[in-house]
Amino acid sequence: MSDWMQEIWTFIHHPLMFPMVVTALAGLIAYMTARRAADISRFVSLIACVVVLVLTYRLFAGDFVELDVTWLALNDLNLSIAMSNGKFGSLIAMGAAFFGLLIAISAIVAEKGEAEEGRFYAFLCWTLTGAIGAALADDLIWLLICWELVTLCLYMLLNLGKGDSPTSAAKTFGMIGFGDAAMLLAMVLIGATEGTFRINELSIEVDSPLTYICFILFMIAALAKAGAVPMHTWIPTAATDASAHVMALLPASLDKLLGIYLLATFSLRVFTLDTAMRAVLMIIGAVTILAAVMMAMNQHHLKKLLSFHAVSQVGYMVLGIGTGVPIGIAGGIFHMINHSIYKSCLFLTAGAVERQTGTSEMNRLGGLARVLPVTFMCCTIAALAISGIPPLNGFVSKWLVYQGCLSAGSPLAILCLVAAVFGSALTLASFVKVLATVFWGPATTDVAPSGGVEGNGKFALALPMVVLAVLCLGFGIFAQWPLNNLVIPALVDVGVPQTPLIIGNEAIEVSGLSLWGPVPATMLILLGVLGGIGLYLVGKVAHVRVANSFVGGEVLDDESVLKFPATSFYRTVEDMPGLGQALSDGGQGVYDVYRLGGRYGGSLVEVLRNLHSGVLSLYVSWCLVGVVIIALYLMAVL
């Protein structure tokens, strides 16, 4: 074996590079076999996901490794593939692999027979390549390349959807692309001022206008990816047409992981924020929580509703990080993990519902709890988790964010705390609506649910949901474990050395401030329920008599008229003065930056378009002007 081959072998065999290589290759095979042998692509990608999960776990659990391969060296400009398995980064990579695997398993059944099935697996693998690369990257340019790969795959995956998916995919690409462009600009600025692209070497105090601009540009990129207000509008648009699996994979989990990873890394490790910037973050967080959840409450398209929550929950993460207090940051990061879990679960259940009935329109759904019991249970657990009901995982992370706000102590933080608590109640409201209208109540006649999709051989569809639901429970009841093993290492990694968090066996505690013992609480709740069951036994509830529902004694021919539709649930809130107008504007996209950008950006584009008149002499003269400017610059520099 020759030297260079040896070198390449070492390179691709490097533990940091190998997961990317595996997924990239798997993606390639899947893509090539997509049309002819979908089975192969299915199999290959599944194997790749498993392998990658193991590899990333070893990275997370293992010792610190570094990879640094320069591929372009020009005088000062030194571009390299630099990677390292920081705890936070490898946690993200592991998370990406985990969700990728679950989605791949679920897709085996759900996407089977779809026209673009094979390509779905290919893009899934490549998404993982990008995500793992971005999470492990230590070089800004390398980060950007991997980051772009994820964006591209997201675009392609959304494009696979039905209906108007090309438009929504384009919107997504436009908005995230804008964020990526901002990041590129910020990188160039940083490279020019700091002279290095290595993330580990950067440490910038945010004090000058330039550093403000740099941070804000990074923030835009991170928030566009994660989907915080006002860069969130691509998520709801994409949700309607894209398949639930794509939504579960990217906007629900991977994009959150990556976006919040970037935000946390840059706002904590790379940049040192001042109070004003933290306040900006907190305000963005609080506004995101409230605005998105208000919009979510009035949705009656299941996936769209979920997608607004995917936005709203980002607010908690941003708020937690924005407090700048270790406990708040811990909350933000934990919330990121939790959110990926329950939101993927919710999107998967939405997928099951859609698969069963052929629609996500909540007004047409009803009474599915009997048809899809497993889906219903998972959805209930995940819905309660996202609403922050103790003792589920969402509660723990939200509770940490609240503590963070309170210990940050400023009046703004207190107001944000109120917004966060209230946002949690609003979240509960919309999930109550989901449970009540989709799973309970009279079954609708126009989407006759017959024969559950779970059942025989549909194990693969149920497994990911169940795993995620169990994780919701587990991370809630035994919150100490993820906090100790996932969150605290990540926290240390982003440079928050000492947390005031006391994680005991019995309770998570911040001395003198707060206390939450999930295990005793669960135990006591279970005990209470057991007591209640005892009462039921005394009252002989085992034998219930079934009678028609009491609707005033009248006998109705058609029970579906008694269904309380989703659009009706919070009509009163929509009618509130002030709020109602804002919500209806929001519904029509008045606050959509993409749309606004389209409207006002259009005029700018028009100017540029006019320059392209097709007249050769004009082009030549533009070129000449350019040459002259470059010459002048060179003369000035030299």
């Binding site: 005033g552 004694g553 579906s560 539709p565 009706s568 009163t572």
Partner: protein, 420 residues
């Protein structure tokens, strides 16, 4: 009235109010189609309570019928017999002795007091304001007791008979009557002030389920429902009977048409009723109480009386026999209830329920067969519209036969004048 129709695009929900519902004492089926909390359409299904009283009436003797029509509605149990009796008296052409007239006035007005207080209490109950319910009913109790004392029963009084009153109220009881109605004056004043001053009640009652003046005329509503919409009709003044032209009282009207106005009309009418009772007691002459009608000659007549809910209208036809050959009843709720469609659509569910209560409906009054079905096949022979057209045709035929002017020509100008 239609049967249950489908929800539109699955966006509407049927909120069934009835047939057995705490809101109403009687079986009626209101179909509230709601979007959220807003009622977008309403429909009513009646006939659960249909007991065939008109048919039954033709099998009773003229003297038995008052007992029957007393049971059309328990809260109007003095006015239904009175309207019937007035019709029969018109056929007979007899003159009721003055003492009987005054005594009839006393009983109908005592009934009005108890009915209005009952309504105030129930309205409070429907609003969840149980204290008002309890208080109003407590203050109504003396009226019930005095009614029992003078007629022998708390609810169905059987007080009037053809040609007079069945039982003379002895003069010794007059003081008790005055004492009973006096004991109501203060509490009613207190309730009125409470209703007028309570800001929360204002929030629930003002501008709620407004029945406009035009709609009130269009739906031909009567009684307090009409008077609260600024339509000053009252049989007691427009076509005085008994002693109503001999005593001094006012017709209470309010122009707003909302639930609050209806409450105010009823509360203020209670004072008027107390005044009337006291004057009737004061002016009641001594003398005969029965004109001694022996038999009813052939003929037909109408009698109408202002019940607490509005105009009660009876038509009686006699062929000289022992029983009426036709007895037609139109109770006030029958015209008041359909006005829901004008006042309630677009309102909140919570408002609609109180608005339903606000017309003080007495569904026992409203019982009709709305649809005629073949008893064997169950096929509809005629629907409500066809039945109505049929009755219009028949009226025209009667008018032609009797050589009288059509209804619009006869009454149109007078109605316009009255309503203006």
């Amino acid at each position: 009235m239609r049967s249950v129709s489908k929800g539109v695009n699955g966006k509407r929900t049927l909120i069934p109010v009835g047939p057995f519902h705490p809101l109403q004492e009687e079986p009626e089926f209101f179909q509230l189609w709601v979007e959220g909390e807003t009622v977008v359409d309403m429909d009513l299904r009646i006939s659960y309570n249909h007991r065939g009283i008109e048919e039954l009436s033709t099998r009773k003797t003229f003297d038995q019928v008052p007992y029957l029509v007393e049971r059309v509605c328990g809260i109007c149990s003095s006015t239904h017999p009175l309207a019937y009796i007035r019709a029969v008296e018109t056929i007979c052409g007899c003159e009721v002795p003055p003492r009987a007239k005054y005594q009839r006035t006393m009983v109908t007005e005592l009934e009005r007091i108890h009915s209005h207080l009952l309504w105030v209490g129930l309205a409070g109950h429907f609003l969840g304001y149980n204290t008002v319910f309890m208080w109003a009913w407590k203050y109504r109790e003396p009226i019930m007791e005095i009614l029992e004392k003078i007629t022998g029963n708390r609810c169905a009084y059987a007080n009037a008979k053809i040609g007079g009153v069945r039982r003379d109220i002895p003069n010794e009881l007059f003081d008790d009557i005055v004492r009973a109605v006096d004991s109501c004056w203060g509490p009613t004043e207190m309730l009125t002030n409470a209703v007028l001053d309570d800001p929360v009640l204002h929030a629930r009652l003002v501008d709620v389920a407004t029945l406009t003046h035009e709609d009130a005329i269009r739906y031909c509503v009567t009684g307090p429902t009409a008077r609260a919409s600024g339509v000053p009709i009252d049989v007691r003044r427009d076509d005085p009977y008994d002693a109503f032209d001999l005593v001094d009282w006012d017709v209470i009207t309010f122009p707003e048409g909302d639930v609050m106005a209806k409450a105010k009309v009823r509360l203020l009418e209670t004072f008027e009723a107390i005044k009337i009772v006291k004057q009737a007691v004061r002016d009641c002459p001594n003398g005969e109480t029965d004109a001694g009608v022996e038999e009813v000659p052939p003929g037909e007549a109408i009698g109408h009386v202002e019940a607490p809910r509005g105009e009660t209208f009876h038509y009686v036809r006699s062929d000289g026999g022992r029983c009426p050959v036709r007895h037609k009843i139109r109770a006030p709720s029958y015209v008041n209830v359909p006005s829901f469609r004008a006042s309630c659509i677009g309102q909140h569910v919570a408002d609609v329920t109180i608005a339903m209560a606000a017309v003080d409906p007495c569904y026992s009054c409203t019982e009709r067969m709305a649809v005629t079905k073949d008893s064997k096949t169950g096929n509809e022979l005629m629907d409500a519209k066809e039945l109505q057209e049929l009755s219009v045709q028949r009226t025209r035929w009667f008018e032609k036969q009797l050589g009288i002017e059509p209804f619009d020509k006869r009454w149109g100008p007078k109605l316009q004048e009255l309503l203006a």
